[in-house]
Amino acid sequence: MLASFQDFFRQLAEDFPRWNFIFFHDPVQADRILTGLGYTITLSIACVILSVIIGVGGAWMQGSHLRIPRMIVQGYIQFFRNTPPFVQLLFFYFALGQFTPTYSPDGWLEIPIISNVGWAIISLSFFAGAFNVEIFRAGIEAVPRSTVEAAEALGYTRLGIFRHVVLPLSFRVSLPALNNNLVNLVKTTTQAFAIAVPELLYQAVSIWNDYPSALYPAMLLLFVVYILLVGILVFGMHRWEHGMRIPGYGN
């Protein structure tokens, strides 16, 4: 089965030199694609989780009565939302990477504690997190003031109100917008290419540089894989949205 699958694509490459689906019949290239896919999925999952945490934390700090935390969050949003993620990646990796502790396996190399994958996760999470803060803030503002006042009357602390009343309600309002942002985040992981994170785009470009005949197939593969990845994410988010639905609230 696998052999005839490989033979089919080998034959296709022979008949049509521009359509060499090399990753379907050469194990080495298949391995590169799988490695890349692994990195893309790792980046996506890590960034989605971290950016949501940043979003929730930031939205909570933004509602603080103190000026300093509010200003910090505001500054953070302005910086990360208003600068290109590509530049952020380069800056984090090359400039900030200079100040992180390093270890040396051979006396000359200085391997930073935070690898390029680590910087990509940090940088992309902060980027998407800035949008998430605003998304959650919109949700929080949609929670009726009277509901919060009722909770205050019951003697809830500020953190208690946020955890048990405001966040659960606002989360439901925020989900559609959050969904959009996370989809964008998954696609933005391709920019980690700039700091040589061997994710899917990096591997695909490497393959079509090594085998010019695989250019169109590799591009096609990229589209298909991202459609599937984002499809899975959207499906999961919709299920979650559905599962959290409160009758009579929201839609």
Binding site: R18, I195, P212
Partner: protein, 278 residues
């Protein structure tokens, strides 16, 4: 079933490769286009000193830019230069965004299937690494399992990683790759020996060396659209290339741009010598 599937993919493939293999008849589209609009668009490098780079005013200069100027002058048209990257230069030519590509491209069998690479080859370079003297590399095998910086689009990335087990970290541009070398993120930067040599002689890389024997000496080729290769444009460029080699123009340019003289140009000049010249 298999046949049907093959036929279906055949049709889609055919639709997508309209430009493929029709070299039998010459339409000379690219040539006519250049002549009628009075301007040739040449794809050159902007990050490959001293073949193609930007001077302090931001203008493109270098050995290959001088070659592009020769071409435009001979054709009697204006010259427009478009900076291309190693990883997109062939696509630029395929899509007609450029009429001619003179972009430090190694002449490889699989590339000849995509673009019309012109004979004779105008230059050659081998693969080598730039590495800090402190590392003390002696042989290619020393790279095994070590991080080595490179640039996306270079054909030897694959060779070095397969033959010597080096762990290639490929950046999109040379600037990033070299910065990573300076930042000690890799023990060496793998690239063309001729380019490394010009970096070393620039005085900015005094603590570095080119310690290995160059490998995989590979001629460079300039390219025209595939359909033009055996037609007017291709034949014209073959003539340009021949004259550059025979007249010693390239040796002159090599000197002008401070490139270490290569044996290749001297031997080509000898090979193509006019038999009446004594």
């Amino acid at each position: 079933m298999m046949k049907k599937l093959l036929a279906a993919t055949a049709i889609t493939a055919l639709l997508a490769t309209t430009t493929a293999a029709s070299a039998a008849q010459c339409t000379n589209d690219a040539w006519n286009k250049v002549m009628s609009r009075g301007k040739i668009v040449v794809g050159v490098k902007a990050d490959y000193k001293p073949w193609g780079f930007r001077n302090s005013d931001g203008g493109l200069v270098g050995m290959e830019i001088d070659m592009a100027k020769d071409v435009a002058e001979t054709m009697g048209v204006k010259l427009e230069m478009v900076p291309v990257q190693s990883s997109n230069r062939m696509q630029f030519l395929e899509q007609g965004k450029i009429d001619l590509m003179i972009a430090t491209m190694s002449d490889r069998a699989d590339r000849r299937k995509i673009v019309g690479i012109i004979q004779p080859n105008y230059y050659t370079s081998g693969t080598n690494v730039m590495s800090p003297k402190a590392v003390g590399l002696k042989k290619w095998e020393d790279l095994r399992g070590k991080p080595v910086c490179g640039k996306q689009g270079a054909f030897y990335n694959k060779i070095v990683s397969e033959r010597y087990g080096a762990d290639i970290i490929a950046f999109t541009g040379n600037a990033e790759a070299k910065q990573a070398l300076r930042d000690k993120k890799c023990i060496a930067w793998v690239y063309d020996d001729s380019s490394i040599m010009s970096d070393l002689s620039s005085g900015n890389w005094d603590a570095y060396e080119m310690p290995l024997n160059s490998e995989d000496d590979n001629p460079w080729g300039l390219a025209v659209p595939p359909a033009e290769k055996d037609c007017v444009f291709g034949q014209f460029m073959t003539g340009m290339s021949f004259n550059w080699l025979q007249s010693g123009r390239l040796i002159e340019l090599e000197k002008k741009w401070g490139i270490q003289p290569t044996a290749f140009l001297a031997s080509q000049k000898e090979r193509m010598k006019d038999w009446l010249d004594k």
